[in-house]
């Protein structure tokens, strides 16, 4: 048994639950008398809903297949070797479940080296090798093809990526080294770094060809036939594959520098993966592949043993799996059909909601407001947005006609809501106003209609308390921008019944939102944590720490934006309003910053001016600030802020605001854009020891979002 086989056997023993991919070897006669050919099919035996992955046993199977074809290639029994996937799937890379099980650096090193050792054999065969990217190809799936002499790709391929950096790894089975040497550093950086950090952007088949990753592009209908015909022509010398010369000079260094700039702007140095990948790309400039592979092994092992990757996989599983099965949602069979939607209010938020319901549910949507002008403006907004979609080719004229016909605006709620199944209000954030609106809606809407509120901070139970049927009121809290942020906090009031809640979850699913069930607690989840976080930043500023120090203190977290920039985005007035709400609920922990009050009273909409191209504290804001004389260091500020966040989350879990810490993290990732490398936040708080320090215990068991004991 080869050392590779032994290595993989040991790895396979650690991972008994692997969904094993077989590497079938089948022989065929190429057209045009080009000779006998061995084609390897990667197939885990399931349909396309369970994509093919590489765990250690899968790699061992591929290794065994390569034993066979290596001998055949050496003896001249075959003139070439190909590799392809089952229908719709090529291979989607390493099995993340297996990665999570790795407990020490040696095990992690073994899996990196094992993959290299197997894949490298494709390049070392005595005959040319061909990868046929027939369907989804990611990570190790892409990389196994990179080791081949030639590649073809299907025009129908929907998703192709090296998503490792997105998760917290590097493309470590050859990707970091081979790709820049195949297509040049600039394009490689765009695939490995930019796409990964741009919400894991996927390439389509045509782009894979245009980037030069594949040598030929064929339509999906007879992709494999055409690939094999092409193979025959290449082997017979009828087709010569030409690849452009790679610029190994200045351009290479510039590409890496650009990659670092992109990484800095996305993760601010807080997550190591992108930088490790860039180091390898930079070093692979001399074309020494083995040196690059060794560096990949080391980077993989280091990252696999690091908290960022473990948090990344945890976060990935939250958004891929937990988001699809919301914790605490009632039986979905209880949901009632929603065939018409009412929206109270025709302002910007209400109009955005109307557009969302319209596009996803494709049912009549009625807007109401207090005067015709506002109603017309709301409907006009929706129509204009539909026209934009039409202009971009996202919908066709028929669909645009259909959607426009479905949205109407009326002044009379009785006329608009008499047959609505779901009415959502987005009126002024004031309890008495909202109670009045709901009372009016209840008077005209059918008895079964769900009454939903988009409140961000008011009590849903209180809002429902004066109604005849409070059991049908739910909180439906969206995040701005509504079209982009996936999170929807679904709030169960004290009297909300299961059928109403089930209907709310069913609607959320159709809206393609990530629904998280929360208790009717002040400001629910995201706003409560963000407000506590911001409040602590404001406190230290109010007490005397310079704004710049406070802002920089949390940079190492790699949040999408600094606290005050976030407050600008939310709007200082809204931020103040939420902090007042929470201050009323929890005066001992939530303060109302007098400086923020002054900024709001002065009518300022932000803290910074961008005249120089970089954000600088607005002198008018600076003039408003009245600070104490307690100046903290960045470390002190960071500790104070993180302690506050850990305390708040601990209390929220005790109160039962959500089912588990996982839901908090899911909310922060999908509602606030908090990064994967923090795992939301609780994995970070655990690994930095904050949870232990503040609450005396971890949020997550060891092994969850961390290296198992």
């Amino acid at each position: 048994m080869s050392t590779t086989a032994e290595l993989l056997k040991g790895a396979a023993e650690l991972f008994p639950d692997e969904v094993v991919t077989q590497a079938h070897v089948r022989h065929l006669d190429l057209p045009f008398g080009a000779g006998r050919f061995a084609l390897i099919t990667l197939d885990n035996g399931f349909d396309h809903t369970k994509p093919t992955t590489f765990g250690p046993q899968s790699l061992a199977n591929l290794n065994a297949a390569l034993d066979q074809v290596e001998a055949e290639a050496a003896s001249g029994a075959v003139v070439g070797v190909g590799i392809t996937g089952k229908p719709f799937i090529f291979a989607v890379g390493a099995d993340l479940k297996g990665v999570e099980l790795l407990k020490n650096h040696d095990e992690a090193l073994a899996i990196g080296k094992g993959g290299h050792d197997v894949f490298k054999r494709l390049a070392a065969l005595a005959v040319p090798t061909f990868a046929y990217y027939n369907g989804a190809a990611m990570g190790g799936g892409v990389e196994v093809g990179l080791h081949c002499t030639y590649r073809t790709v299907s025009k129908a391929l929907p998703a192709f990526s090296l998503p490792e950096v997105f998760l917290g790894l590097v493309p470590g089975w050859g990707g970091c080294t081979i790709l820049p040497n195949l297509i040049g550093a600039e394009k490689a950086v765009s695939v490995i770094i930019e796409n990964s950090l741009n919400q894991n952007k996927q390439l389509r088949g045509k782009q894979v060809f245009e980037l030069g990753i594949a040598d030929a592009l064929f339509e999906g209908a007879d992709f494999l036939e055409q690939s094999l015909l092409w193979t025959a022509k290449v082997l017979k010398g009828d087709i010569t594959v030409e690849r452009p010369e790679i610029d190994r000079g200045e351009a290479w260094d510039q590409a890496v520098a650009k990659g670092r700039f992109v990484a800095d702007s996305k993760v601010h140095g807080a997550a190591p993966a992108a930088y490790r990948a860039l180091d390898i790309i930079a070093a692979s400039k001399d074309g020494d592949l083995q040196k690059g592979f060794d560096a990949e092994d080391q980077a993989l092992a280091d990252l696999i043993m690091g908290g960022e990757l473990r948090s990344g996989i945890y976060a990935f599983n939250l958004v891929q799996k937990r988001a699809k099965r919301p914790a605490g949602a009632p039986d979905k069979n209880l949901a009632r059909p929603v065939t018409k939607v009412g929206v109270v209010g025709a302002g910007l938020m209400a109009s955005q909601l109307a557009l969302l319901f319209l596009r996803r549910l494709e049912v009549p949507v009625v807007l109401t407001d207090i005067d015709q002008e506002r109603v017309d403006k709301g409907v006009g907004y929706v129509h204009a947005e539909i026209d934009k979609l039409l202009g971009k080719g996202r919908i066709n004229q028929d669909k645009a006609n259909r959607l426009k016909a479905l949205v109407t605006g009326v002044l009379d709620k009785a006329e608009g809501f008499a047959d609505a199944d779901f009415v959502i209000e987005a009126v002024f954030e004031e309890m008495t106003v909202k109670q009045k609106v709901f009372a009016e809606v209840e008077a005209v809407a059918p008895a079964h209609a769900i009454l939903a509120t988009n409140t961000s901070s008011l009590s849903v139970s209180e809002m429902a308390s004066k109604l005849q049927h409070p059991e049908r009121v739910v909180g439906f809290h969206f995040f701005n921008p509504v079209a982009i942020l996936p999170l929807l906090e679904i709030v169960r009031g004290e009297q909300t019944d299961d059928a109403s809640l089930a209907t709310a979850f069913a609607v959320a699913k159709k809206l393609k939102k990530t629904a998280v069930l929360t208790k009717d607690a002040p400001a629910f989840v995201v706003n409560r944590i963000l407000t506590r976080f911001m409040g602590e930043i404001q406190n230290v500023i109010d007490e005397g720490t310079p704004v710049a120090t406070a802002e920089k203190a949390v940079e190492p977290l790699g949040l999408p934006m600094s606290p005050l920039v976030l407050l600008e985005l939310v709007g200082p007035a809204i931020g103040l309003h939420v902090s007042e709400t929470l201050n009323r609920a929890f005066p001992e922990r939530f303060t109302v910053s007098p400086n923020l009050k002054r900024v709001v009273e002065a009518g300022k909409r932000g803290f910074y001016v961008y005249d120089s191209g970089k954000p600088e504290l607005d002198p008018e804001v600076a003039a408003l600030l009245q600070q104490g004389d307690t100046v903290l260091t960045e470390e002190q500020v960071r500790a104070r802020v993180l302690d506050a966040v850990a305390q708040e989350i601990g209390l929220m879990l005790e109160e039962g605001v959500v089912a588990e810490a996982q839901d908090i993290d899911l909310c922060l990732i999908t509602g606030a854009g908090w990064p994967f490398h923090l795992g939301g936040i609780t994995p970070y708080l655990d690994r930095e020891g904050v949870s232990e320090r503040v609450n005396g215990k971890r949020f997550l068991a060891p092994g969850v979002a961390s290296v198992p004991a």
Partner: protein
């Protein structure tokens, strides 16, 4: 409004390799619609001068029009093949003569002036759709003795044809079958067949059927080169005790698809498309369903009469070999020798297989190749028997002949 009948030509034809129906067959895990889609795509690739937007019709035949052979296959196959949405399509059924009827139907429309160019073909996946799947014969067939009970069982009708021609013995049928295999093997060796085959990628997940994973089919699976009379002598006669029809002197149960381009001659020439055969006449005829193998004889009589030709004018025959006896009955009727070199020069369905509704275009594709090679032949004929007592014949003129296009 005065009209002129237009000349119709066979531009080109291709087919998939044929497979054996059943769990070990090469196409067991391949959809029927994918087979015909790939044939259509190959046809278009081979004729880049044809702008797909100009295609007026896609007529696809299948006998069992359910599942992956249902859903108005001509339309769905067009979409799946990537034809423009503006190209319409329909399905057609005349059992074994499905593809042949697709050709004559669109040919009629071309002649009339309704179409300039059309795709006609057929598919039958007898593994996924065994003969008789889902049939529900009207009980009146039996109660009123409208047809003999053997009419629905093709092997029995072949035995009945032996009864009608007592001189056609099992020995003669077997000898014919051996020759068919020999001619097919030689045609393969000479590269006559492969040039019109579309390679098909096939998946196999059942290890009992052979190596698993993706493979590529580039040749007909049913062929049995080297078959001897001795091999055939011992085979069972499943349709009648002490009968004459065996698996060896009949076509098997097969999977496959064909596609052809039919156009007005003017259109073909204006668009730089090849003209491989010119349509002379076609005819269909009905006979007693229990001797359906007799069908080609009256169909040919009609087609010859229409064309003003006699059988002696026909220089090449492509007769579908559903059963050896059915070919022999035709030859006996016209006084042609069993081993006449004009007949099925490349061998026939006994060797290649007979995926029912697809076979008609295979006959034409082979006749077109023979026309190319033998410009001295002016007329050729494609004919086949059809279930429930029918025959179908198309007579073609060789455009490579010196007098082609002129008066007879």
């Amino acid at each position: 409004m005065p009209r002129t009948v237009r000349d119709v030509v066979f531009v080109d034809g291709v087919r998939t390799p044929f497979g054996k129906a059943g769990p070990k067959g090469i196409y067991h895990e391949t959809r029927a619609d994918d087979l015909v889609v790939k044939a259509i795509r190959e046809l278009l690739r081979r004729n880049p001068g044809l702008d797909p937007k100009k295609i007026d019709e896609v007529a696809i035949a299948a006998t069992t029009q359910i599942g992956d052979q249902g859903l108005t296959l001509g339309r769905t196959a067009g979409i799946l093949a990537g034809l423009p949405q503006s190209v319409p399509g329909y399905s057609i059924d005349r059992m074994c003569a499905g593809a042949l009827t697709a050709v004559t139907s669109v040919a009629g429309s071309v002649a009339f002036g309704a179409y300039d160019v059309a795709i006609a073909g057929g598919v039958e996946h007898m593994g996924r759709h065994p003969m008789g799947e889902g049939v529900d014969p009207n009980p009146r067939f039996v109660s009123e003795k409208l047809v003999d009970e053997s009419a629905l069982f093709m092997g029995m009708t072949a035995e009945n044809l032996h009864d009608r021609y007592p001189t056609i013995t099992k020995q003669r049928a077997d000898e014919y079958a051996v020759r068919s295999q020999e001619k097919a093997a030689k045609a393969y060796a000479d590269g006559k067949i492969q040039q019109d085959l579309v390679p098909i990628s096939v998946r196999r997940t059942n290890p009992e059927a052979g190596e698993t994973g993706w493979g590529l089919v580039t040749a007909d699976e049913p062929m049995r080169p080297g078959t001897t009379l001795e091999n055939l002598a011992g085979l069972k006669t499943p349709f009648r005790v002490h009968g004459r029809v065996t698996a060896g002197n009949a076509a098997g149960l097969n999977d496959g698809a064909t596609a052809s381009l039919i156009a007005s001659e003017d259109f073909a020439r204006e668009n730089g498309l090849p003209v491989k055969m010119r349509l002379v006449s076609y005819a269909f005829a009905g006979v007693e369903p229990e001797v359906m193998g007799y069908g080609p004889i009256p169909a040919t009589e009609k087609a010859l009469a229409q064309a003003g030709l006699s059988i002696s004018d026909i220089g090449l025959f492509e007769i579908n070999e559903a059963f050896a006896v059915q070919v022999l009955a035709f030859l006996e009727h016209y006084g042609i020798a069993d081993d006449d070199t004009r007949v099925n020069q490349y061998g026939g369905a006994i060797a290649f297989g007979h995926p029912l509704a697809s076979s008609g275009v295979r006959l034409m594709t082979q006749l077109a190749r023979q026309f190319e090679e033998q410009p001295e032949v002016r007329y050729g004929l494609t004919t086949m028997c059809v279930g429930f007592g029918m025959g179908a014949t198309v007579i073609w003129e060789n455009p490579h002949h010196k007098d082609a296009g002129g008066d007879k």
